[in-house]
């Protein structure tokens, strides 16, 4: 499923894709895999980069000559500490304005893939309400943004914020490290386990867990046989059943007659049909209680104990 999400064949290749990584396994390799796949489809990709330099991002991805990749440098001086020129404006209005500049004037089709690296940086500097407005862009008809792909470091935020952002996503890929007990005879060393949850427009939610590796050219390898590779726990059902009544100084076994006698014995308080019938059936001339209330008795059918405060 992860491969289809990267290829954009699921859900029309639109919506908001959230990659949640953790300290043990970073998600930037997967993010670059998304970018590479979009570039190969000749889609316009706007990358707003806040955490690494342009050289690091471009390394292995592109030689910088591709016009489809538009790099917005939020790494060098986002807060205007160095130069006194116009600072990099990472407010939502500015991001939208920068994307609109590359609007396809001939057609009204949405054509922009917006990549945020990382969403965590934005969440620390802009109120979450503004960020959520930005994340709604693919749903707006007049917007040029077809798809948003964002990387978020889940340990850096409260559960509430992580939950709110996850709720807005059409597809969530959560990365977790490979468990340590997994056997190590792999052709290609696996990187992490990605749990992909996809919410379709019909309301259906699909979930799949895959073990993957990103290669140097940012292509994806899925390790399908993760479950088979887990070390099998050896089964112990080959040992013979041990007879507990053997080799004792006293006899625990029953002969045939003793077994029959045991089965015939009726236990106390276990009533046979005949006995039940004789007890339950009312005998003729049995006790009968006749009650005639005195004049002083105020017998109320609804309140026989006369203790209701009605």
């Amino acid at each position: 499923m992860l491969r289809e999400v990267i290829a954009g064949s699921e859900g029309g290749g639109g919506g908001f894709v959230l990659i949640k990584d953790c300290v043990q396994c970073g998600g930037r390799g997967l993010l670059k895999s998304f970018i590479k796949a979009a570039l190969l489809r000749n889609e316009t990709v706007h990358v707003f980069e806040f955490e690494i330099s342009q050289e690091e991002l471009y390394s292995g991805l592109t030689d910088g000559t591709s016009s489809s990749l538009v790099f917005h440098n939020g790494y060098t001086d986002p807060l205007n500490w160095i130069s006194n020129e116009k600072p990099f404006d990472f407010s939502i209005q500015s991001i939208k304005a920068q994307i609109d500049q590359s609007k396809d004037k001939e057609s009204e089709a949405k054509n922009v893939i917006l990549v945020l690296d990382s969403l965590s940086w934005l969440l620390h500097h802009i109120p979450i309400t503004d960020v959520c407005q930005l994340l709604q862009e693919p749903k707006r008809k007049e917007s040029t943004v077809k798809r948003i792909i964002a990387l978020m470091h889940s340990e850096l935020h409260d559960q509430g914020i992580v939950g709110s952002v996850s709720h807005m996503a059409n597809t969530i890929v959560t990365l977790s490290p490979i468990p340590e007990f997994t056997a190590v005879n792999w052709e290609v060393d696996p990187y992490a386990i990605g749990e992909t949850i996809q919410r379709k427009k019909s309301g259906k939610v699909t979930r799949e867990e895959e073990c993957y590796t990103i290669q140097k050219d940012f292509s994806l390898i899925i390790h399908h046989d993760l479950n088979n590779r887990k070390q099998a726990i050896p089964k112990t059902d080959n040992t013979a059943q041990v007879d507990p009544a053997a080799n004792l100084t006293f006899n625990l076994r029953l002969s045939e007659e003793e077994r029959h006698a045991k089965e015939r014995l009726s236990l106390p308080f276990t009533f046979s049909e005949k006995k039940k019938h004789s007890i339950l059936q009312p005998r003729p001339g049995g006790g009968k209680i006749v009650y005639e209330p005195d004049a002083q008795d105020d017998f109320d059918e609804e309140d026989p104990d006369d203790d209701l405060d009605v």
Binding site: C25, E56, I82
Partner: protein
């Protein structure tokens, strides 16, 4: 510098990785021996070092460095070492002697105006490490060492401001000048300090080499002072992290590292 740690890291004063962001963390023990190691290592490697000493005085570091064969006073006079003494400067900030000092931006300006960011401190670092033509011929790559960031959190600086400061330092030192940066943070898991956890996790994402020092779970021990975990992260996040765990003992003039459970007192 400690020869055993050099061989574990596969570094030498002539050959070490550049453009690295190194994170040191200590938990339930004192990890300052790593700071002394990296300070003496980079001075021996002829790098220009900017040291933000927020925890101890200059004379403390100088005394320890002398045991490791480095003269900090001489390095400072030569211009190789720029030492920022946080303790003295903070006193000057809080009890200014004259009003003239208000005119210039002070590196520890946030002490008097708590709502501001650490821009002044970054300006100090940037100006100390920006290499002039003269510097580039004399010294190898620039190095920034911070001891330690948790002090800033204790001084009511917001975690976002600390992370912005580290971001700019990393950009100016590691990305622009291919220098190295070493930062120390406290990381006490069970204290529930959200700010410290946030800074530690964010720096873990950004760093390429992480050295975590833990005290032993069983408490203080005379022969084993603690455990150190080294984690090398792949720059492009395509390969899994490579980790190594050692136990260590700090001596007067060095530190010995050994595999867990193989202390000389035990064997």
């Amino acid at each position: 510098m400690f020869a055993e740690l050099n061989s574990i890291l596969n570094w030498s004063p002539d050959k070490f990785e550049k453009g690295q962001c190194i994170l040191l963390s200590e938990s339930k023990t004192d990890g300052s021996f790593l700071i002394h190691h990296f300070l003496s290592f980079f001075l021996k490697a002829q790098c220009k070092v900017c040291f933000l000493g927020l925890v101890q005085s200059f004379s403390h570091y100088s005394t320890v460095a002398q045991k490791l064969g480095i003269n900090l006073l001489q390095a400072r006079e030569k211009g190789q070492l720029v030492f920022f003494e946080g303790l003295c400067n903070s006193l000057d900030m809080l009890l200014p002697e004259s009003d003239a000092s208000d005119a210039e931006p002070q590196p520890l300006g946030f002490l008097r105006w708590p709502s501001t960011d650490l821009r002044n401190l970054f300006d100090f670092v940037n100006s100390s490490l920006s290499q002039s033509e003269n510097d580039m011929s004399r010294w190898a790559s620039p190095v920034l060492i911070i001891d330690d960031l948790s002090v800033l959190l204790s001084l009511e600086v917001s975690p976002t401001a600390v992370l912005d400061f580290v971001h700019y330092c990393r950009m100016a030192v590691c990305s622009k000048q291919q220098g190295n940066m070493v930062t120390m943070v406290h990381n006490e898991d069970d204290l529930g300090d959200e700010d410290c956890d946030l800074v530690f996790h964010a720096l873990t994402h950004q760093s390429s080499l992480i050295l975590q020092v833990h005290g032993l779970n069983t408490g203080y021990c005379r022969d084993v002072h603690g455990q150190i975990q080294l984690r090398w992260k792949d720059k492009f996040q395509l390969k899994r992290d490579h980790t190594h765990v050692f136990q260590y003992k700090v001596h007067d003039k060095g530190v010995s590292f050994f595999a867990p459970g193989t202390s000389s007192a035990v064997l």
